[in-house]
C-alpha cells in the first residue's frame, strides 16, 4: 500500500492529540497546588495524598473493585455455561433466538437497562445497594462473555470431544479437561471485558444504587456536578495508570490468542 504522505500524518497527529488532550490535561492539573484547572501555580502531590486520606473515597474505590471482580467472575462462569449451552443447541431457530436475546443487553441503551433493572429489583424486593449493583453488573456482563467465548467453542473441532469420549472420558472430564482448556483465551478475554465493563459503568449503576452505596463513576458524577475538585484529577491520574496497565495486559492476552481487539463498549 502507498505510504502515508504528510497531510494524513498531520491529520492522525491531530486526532491523537485531541483524544489524549483531556486525559493529560486532567493529570497535569492534578499536580497543581492552586485550586482549579486554569492556573498552574506549583507542583504538589497534596491531591494524591487527599485521595488516600479520604476514607469515604477509598471505601468507594474498594466497592468498585470488589463489584468488578465479583461480577466478572460470576458472569464469566454463567457466560461460559451459556455459550456451551448455545453450542449444543441443535435447533437452529432456537439458537438464533437465544443469540438475539443474548445481544439485547449489549445494544440496549444503559438508561433502559438501568430503569428496567430498577423496576425489577423494586418489584422482587432486592434492596438497592451492593446486591442490586452487583447483580446488575453480572447481568450486563454475561452477554459479552458469551460473545467472546462462543467463537472459540465453534472453532473447536467436535471430533475432539468425540475422541475424548471414546477414550473413556466422562462428560464432566470433557468439560473440564477438553472444552475449558481449549476456550481459555476466550474466557480470559470475556473476564477481562466484564471487568472493564463493570469498572466503567455509570448509567446502570446510577439507577440501581441506593443511598448508602456508591461506585467510582457515580461518585465522580456527583463530585463533578458540584464543581471542580482536584481530588478527581488525582484520582483520574491513578485510574489512567491502572487502565494502561490493564490494556497492556489485555493486549498481551489478545495477541497471544489472536482474538480481535476489544469489542464495543458503551
Amino acid at each position: 500500500m502507498a505510504k502515508l504522505s504528510k497531510l494524513p500524518k498531520i491529520y492522525l497527529a491531530v486526532v491523537f492529540i485531541i483524544l489524549y488532550a483531556p486525559i493529560f490535561y486532567l493529570i497535569f492539573y492534578s499536580f497543581n497546588s492552586g485550586g482549579g484547572m486554569s492556573n498552574f501555580e506549583s507542583f504538589t502531590l497534596e491531591h494524591y495524598a487527599a485521595v488516600f486520606e479520604d476514607t469515604r473515597l477509598l471505601v468507594i474505590l474498594i466497592n468498585t473493585i470488589v463489584v468488578a471482580l465479583l461480577s466478572a467472575l460470576i458472569s464469566t462462569a454463567i457466560g461460559v455455561l451459556g455459550a456451551v449451552a448455545i453450542l449444543f443447541m441443535r435447533n437452529k431457530a432456537m439458537r438464533n433466538a437465544v443469540l438475539s436475546l443474548n445481544n439485547i443487553l449489549i445494544v440496549s441503551p444503559d438508561v433502559i437497562i438501568g430503569a428496567s433493572f430498577l423496576i425489577l429489583f423494586t418489584l422482587i424486593g432486592v434492596k438497592l445497594g451492593f446486591a442490586s449493583v452487583l447483580i446488575s453488573h453480572i447481568a450486563f456482563s454475561i452477554p459479552i462473555v458469551v460473545i467472546m467465548v462462543l467463537p472459540k467453542l465453534q472453532e473447536m473441532s467436535p471430533s475432539l470431544i468425540d475422541a475424548a469420549l471414546d477414550l473413556g472420558a466422562t462428560k464432566r472430564d470433557v468439560l473440564t479437561r477438553v472444552i475449558i482448556p481449549f476456550i481459555k483465551p476466550g474466557i480470559l478475554a470475556g473476564f477481562f471485558l466484564a471487568l472493564t465493563y463493570s469498572l466503567d459503568d455509570f448509567a446502570v449503576t446510577f439507577f440501581v444504587t441506593g443511598n448508602g452505596f456508591s461506585t467510582l463513576s457515580v461518585e465522580i458524577y456527583s463530585m463533578a456536578r458540584a464543581g471542580i475538585t482536584l481530588t478527581i484529577n488525582a484520582l483520574s491520574g491513578l485510574i489512567f495508570l491502572v487502565t494502561v496497565v490493564l490494556v497492556i495486559g489485555y493486549y498481551m492476552i489478545s495477541r497471544k490468542t489472536k482474538s480481535p481487539l476489544a469489542g464495543v463498549r458503551k
Binding site: 486525559i23 439485547i104 430503569a115 458503551k266
Partner: protein
Amino acid sequence: MNNKPLRPLYSVPYAAWIILFVIAPIALIVYYSFFDLAGNFTIDNYKNFFTSVYLKLTISSFWYAFLITLFSLLFAYPTAYFLTKTKHKQLWLLLIIIPSWINLLLKTYAFIGLFGLYGPINALLEVMGIGEQQILFTDFSFVFVSVYIFIPFMILPIFNALDKLNPALIDASRDLGANAWTTFRRVIWPLTINGVKSGIQVVFIPALSLFMITRLIAGNKVITLGTAIEQQFLVTQNWGMGSTIAVFLILFMFIIMLITNGKEKGASNNGKTK
C-alpha cells in the same frame, strides 16, 4: 454429542439469566408504561408522548444523535483509513482505543475544565483575539464531547472493514482509469459500508439515550430521550411515563438496528470473491 443428561444442568443459570434479566425487564417496562402516578391502568402516558412537549424532545434527541453520528463518521472514516496505511497499524489502533477505556465520567469532567471560562480553549481564543466565549453549556460543547466519547467506537468497525479490503481491488480501479474520488465512491465506500453501518449503530443508539453528558456539559439545556427517562425515573418518580419513553426508545433502537443490519447480506456479496 450425547451429553443430553448434562445439558439441563449447565443451561440453568444462563436460561435463568435470559428470563430474569432480558425478558422480564422489557416486559416490566412495557407493563409499567400503562400506569399513571397513582397506579391506575391508563394509556394516558402514550397520549402524553404524542403531545408537543415529548414530540419536540424526541425530534431534538434524534437531531442531536444525528449530528453526533454524522460528525463521528466524518472524522472517524479518514482516521480509520489513514490508520490502515500506517506501519504497526494494530499498535496505532490500540492507541486510539486506549482513551475509550478511561472512565467516561473522567473524560467528561475534563471538558468542564477545558471548556470553562478560564480554561485553555478560552485562553487560546483570547490570544487569537476572538475573546472569551461561553463554550460550556452550549449545543456545541454537547456535540463535541459526545463525538469525542463515541469516535473510537466509530473508528473500530470502519478500521476492521478497511483492513479486510483487498488492496488489489483499489489497484484494479486505478488501473482502469478511475480517479481517487471515483475509486473511493465506487469501490472503497461500498465495500466498507458494513463497517460504517455498525459504527452508526454503536454511536446513534447510545447518542439517543445520553443523559450524563447532557447534565454535566450541556447544563440541562439539551434534553435527550435518555435525560427524560432518567428524569422521570429518578427525579419525578413517574415510572409510568419514564417507561413509556423507554418503550419508544426500545422501538427506535429496533428500527435503527433493522436499518443498519438490513442489507448486510446483499452488500457483503458485492465485489467479494465468492
